[in-house]
Symmetry: D2
Subunit: 462 residues, 4 copies
């Protein structure tokens, strides 16, 4: 019978639920933070702490604070009922407070008078969201740190592993794979610093009452605000910020910046993973990245998720920025546009980050393929090395022109550059064949790659 | 015990669900179309029809077609299980086909060989989505028609109801409320025409197999494609379009255009509904638009939803356009970015449309307040009428300058424009006081408002 | 002295101009359409035609129409002077009319009274923009047709040229290059159809006077509107549309859709042009796509421009959609947001289109490299062909599993698939070695590629 | 003749220029920073400093450094010639270096060898842009400070000036105008802090050579990088960041946040400036905000510019975030998408900021109109005050219900709330008529508005 009930509920749920694709694009942890339960509990944590703070400040009786606080458990509320009422009321706080008051009244009719005392719906919604964001920032901070460690390991391990540098998707002079990873790492380190600065600003209490004057709490306002900020461990702002949305918008922009870098990493990995390149591969696992029609395929499924996030998040950030234009003391439309957008940014960013962590921690590097690909152009990608050396003798533009002509013959005649250079009197007037050979060795032309890696690692440790 | 089970399931569900705000921003009908059930059934409808079409074309045994088709019921699949497998497989079709094959095998092991025969995951996902979009377009078409009727009624009723025209949020010469409604109406009529054109393009079969060549179906391909298009009542395109995403992107842009007009309507209504203007009001209902702190408030809750949609949808359209850049024969990231974005556009647009319909059908018009507001400027808004008439005698620029000076005295001296004009010899040289009075009557300066309304109504009927 | 003057002007100009990058991202033709001169002339064409139409309708004297019309030449106006005044006036029409009136007055003081008679600034700006858009649509239509022809040629020529199909950036079963081009072509054909439908809606007269009632023109309004529409060869709408911006927004969305497809083409070409793939290349030309440091490099400079457009245009489309929410009879901010945005969409789209035309018309195809790349996986990409054939005997899932195992051994053991299949008794129980050889031949597994190409070509001719 | 030349140049220029609307949407200062001249000089400053740094490090001869440095003057280069060559080369640095080399060669053929020594095009473009951004940040910092001062003055002056609080565009309990200004101020202060943090990250040298290894400079790389950073007074990053674009993207997001707040201010001001509200007005000036058809109009032209910026900038920020996904060692399309987008964000933001400064510094406040509007609802907006007081006796929900009923009678019967409350026994059981009068006085219900203003002012001073 329980099975039947469960099956029935599951069926009903599927005609409304949006879970089928959800696990691919976010983490279960972050989805929990930004679930109906998470939002309800965020608002209820506000209401509970408000009641306790008001009891401390003397705004409401001590017993009321205790009873109200005890009733603020999300499990006691039915989401669908609240959702239906919210649609008509204009926000979910109104029916939530009505139901909470009823539940408190069952225990203590006196206490029920003091539910939500002096607060406005937006106080509960904003502070509740701030509490959710605190959890989100914790998860993101942890995963950024993990990504940083994984990238540092990659950078260190492959500091001197040569592969073709690629500009405009064309091979150029060599770099090391560690340098590539160090570039990713240094961006992630800047993001960790940005997220820390954002955290300081965004974790702020919202409490202002109807229009932000705290008029309803009168002489108890100051003490209540201070006590509430302390209860919730949030910063106490100089004044309520109902229509100053820069705090929430900054959360969005910081995540937008992070996701941009994750997208860059995924673009690089997926390009390296192409059949024709084959220098790196996402970690393999049973059932992971298979194709319904092509049995041998290993699809870069993590990259796909991250790249999709890098397409989806920037416009969502634009929504948060555009929504900042909120009217007077309460926004009409702008505020409402945030409600589902900021959570979506957080969940999609979390999915992208988790996929990047998994991808980087298990990244398979094929250094022999990297070496093989360095030979694809028969020396052309080393042309700069020769050009630079020749320039010492005949100037940059003359050297460039001379080497360019050799390169053209190399391409048209399908001959190695080494052979053509060694046969060119203008070249050999300045460079011996042995010198040419050294100049054409990719391993000897990594420049400061290793030094750069070390600096990035040092900065990451700091 | 069932209650406990239900409560337990509900609790579990709330830690993942995203329903709390959903009912405010979309309709239950459209949510059902774009629910997990809707998506599953869309893909299963494709698989069922594919099996039947292949049975007709001889690609698979007739009995296999029958059994497979019979098993394609969304109720038989568990969303959470599929979701978990989809995250690792890279798309939900792979686990769905695996599970469908298992269910078919229970009935007929032979038939199980032919599930998804010759198709690729994207065939099922794209065609499934097309089927969902067909339902969505039906709902939207119905509601656009309803909105058109309501707007036509408003336009007809108030064709001659004067109110201040407002440019740059400043009062200008009068218009009629019917003209305002006719402007909204004419835009909606163009949108209905656009949606019809989009419908023709978007309701197209996707069937191409692994890379769009239909190689796997070989000699049965043509007949299967034709039969499948017929089964699903979809257009048969010249060729598969796995990475040509203009069809889906156009669905997004068309909805973006529609939502833009809905936002314009909501902006107008919410401005008219301001306490200081009070010329129109959203329909009232018990519990609708109340405030948690301000007992007398009637908030424009429908406008808020529509305006939030007008902020959210444009960036989502940008995502769909940016996601069109898909690689080779299957997109990496771009395709995935569409999966949740296009449904979100449809659901948010549906919510905005439903709210606009409700708002317009029950819109309360206060024509006496409109008339009162026409007097607010002591005649200033009629200055153009006077200026135009005077220009006949002294030229446009001289008239403009003369009237402008009168207006400045009107503002600075706080005197009615009528009085100042009647006392100005340069004016009375050309206009009698009676003529001035007629010129200052807003009802006589509606120009072609009524004719324009009639033309818009005629075009709407056509 | 002329040299000095020229140098001085050039220097001054460079401290304000934005031309340095302009030629890379748009065409000189489209820049001319959307230059200051183009915009001024558009508005002046409106004023000239308005004067002639009003003379016809009797609203103004015939001689005034003639003189005003004769003065409406952009060359007679100084852009910087108008720009400075526009910033303070709030739009460029106000100073333009002031200056035009002065110029008319020099010829005929009477006529000067009738400049801009009965119109509002937005009438001139909107209709002027419509006239610019007409020129833009002509250029775009011409280039889309040219692109269509070039794509059709590519599709026809390479209908049977095999190359690897690529899904998720991994090689899959073969396609033909003609099929790839046919996919691009079919999208372009749909865009041509869309642009035609958009053209019908967008080329509409704007004339409403101050608040859209035509009150100022009184009994001459109807005849003037009809005559003006005829003069300008624009459609006469049912009513003025000052704050119904769907026409302009649709121009943006249609270009957004087009640019999305251009981006898809450029993404494909640039991926094919990678050093490691080398199957196609942008046309070469002296000085084109060189590198400042790498003498041998040929950069895909056209692809870069097109891909940058595909990143820039979608958000600009979002701006146009978001800006549709315009207040009452004249938008505050929304209207202004369009002024530079729609021209930017047109110019960037034109640059992307011109670059795509050049790229496709001169595209270099390396079919031998395509053939070589088909061998890269030692037969893996033909696994589906074998799997499909085997499935006829042992079912889809069993065949898939069997071939998947062979593929894994192929990958791990670095042996050709042919060898492994030929040695597998489960396979040879159903397939002879000769049959396996045929199944592994890419040329024999192009499915309906050629038929699809022919259908796309036929549709394109239609 | 000079006149002819000038007219000819002007005419030619207008067929390409985009200046007509430019002065309305940006400042001439910021346009100068982001003009062709500004960009050229930025790149030339890089080349000059590079030559000097390389001379110091011994990479090139000392004399070469001196000559090259002396030639790097933007005035010596013709923008149109460079623009034409850039379109074909793929970036403007290639023709610029070619021309610079030629100019250096005229003075010193030896020195010409060392132009751009060891650098890549992107080094010059990125560092040049960083130098432009430094100028931009200086201008923005100055104007933000000016705005902060003007807002502080407003907040202080009107700390106790009551006006209606407005939520959902409906009047609610009173606030003070100073509180409104203090809310704006506190957001601006956070933005100043953000811009400072962004400045620290964004003002970083870009120097990496072809692929970011500095291979071409070999043993001189370290000393050159350090010397160049010092020459340009830029931070020396751990490693080159050619495809790590978070620095530039953060510049965009920070400006996006700032413009969001400016839009909020402009929305508030323009709503207050409505004819029907009339509580504030943009500063008046001759010719400012006039209407071409309505002589008396004073349009909120500054608000229009700011609101248009608040529509345009968020999608441009999205472009910068989406463009972060850049391939390997040099982006294809992503990099190019930044070139015109980041300057556009800076110029549009500067225009919005300058308009806000002018608007706020000259804002006209009509406190008597504020007082009059407080009476519009006959006491309804004071209902909360009564409700809160009554709740002390009968509980929150009962009080809310009782007052709500009084409010409904007030609305339906068109009677003052005072009268209805004074006649209600349930009310007078707890409140005397004198108490009711005090409760209904808006000046006595400003809560902590003044205290909040003081805190915001104190934080601003800190």
């Amino acid at each position: 019978m329980a099975d039947n009930a469960s099956a029935r509920v599951r069926g009903v749920s599927a005609t409304r639920s949006q879970r089928l694709l959800d696990r691919q694009f976010t983490t279960e942890e972050m989805r929990t933070v930004f679930s109906d339960h998470g939002r309800l509990q965020g608002m209820l944590d506000f209401e509970a702490a408000l009641a306790r703070a008001e009891a401390q400040s003397g705004a409401i009786p001590h017993s009321a604070g205790t009873v109200i606080s005890a009733c603020c458990r999300a499990e006691s509320f039915d989401v669908e009922t609240l959702a239906a009422a919210a649609a008509s009321a204009g926000n979910p706080v109104i029916p939530l407070i009505k139901e909470l008051t009823a539940q408190v009244a069952e225990r203590d009719a006196q206490a029920a008078r003091y539910v939500h005392w002096g607060a406005t719906s937006q106080d509960a919604m904003d502070t509740g969201l701030v509490l959710q964001l605190r959890s989100a920032i914790e998860l993101l901070t942890r995963d950024l740190q993990r990504l940083s460690r994984a990238l540092a390991l990659l950078a260190r391990t492959h500091a001197a592993t040569p592969l073709a540098g690629r500009t405009w998707l064309q091979q150029g002079p060599p770099v090391s794979f560690g340098l590539k990873a160090a570039g990713w790492l240094s961006a992630i380190e800047r993001h960790r610093s940005r997220l820390g600065q954002t955290r300081t600003r965004v974790l702020a209490l919202q409490l202002g009452g109807a229009v932000g004057t705290m008029a309803a709490l009168n002489e108890h306002a100051d003490a209540t605000m201070a006590a509430l900020a302390k209860e919730l461990e949030l910063a106490l702002p100089e004044l309520p910020w109902h229509t100053q949305r820069d705090r929430f918008a900054e959360m969005a922009t910081t995540l937008g910046l992070i996701v941009g870098t994750l997208g860059k990493i995924a673009r690089d990995v997926s390009l390296l993973m192409q059949t024709e390149v084959g220098e790196a591969a996402e970690p393999a696992a049973p059932g992971r990245g298979g194709s319904s029609t092509m049995p041998h395929k290993r699809n870069p499924v993590a990259s796909a998720v991250v790249l999709s996030a890098a397409l989806r998040v920037p416009p969502l950030v634009a929504t948060m920025l555009a929504a900042m234009v909120q009217e007077h003391e309460r926004g009409l439309g702008g505020w409402h546009a945030e409600w589902q957008t900021l959570p979506e940014i957080c969940t999609v960013a979390a999915g992208a980050l988790a996929n990047t962590v998994a991808m980087i921690e298990g990244l398979q590097i094929d250094s022999s393929r990297m070496a093989a690909n360095l030979d694809l152009t028969r020396g052309l990608i080393m042309a700069e090395a020769v050009s630079i050396e020749l320039a010492k003798y005949i100037g940059r533009r003359a050297a460039h022109a001379l080497v360019e002509r050799a390169c053209e013959r190399c391409v048209s005649g399908n001959k190695p550059l080494r052979e053509l250079l060694a046969a060119d009197a203008e070249v050999t007037a300045h460079l011996s064949v042995a010198a040419i050979d050294l100049l054409l060795d990719p391993r000897r032309y990594l420049g400061h790659a290793q030094a750069f890696v070390e600096r990035a690692l040092a900065a990451s440790r700091a």
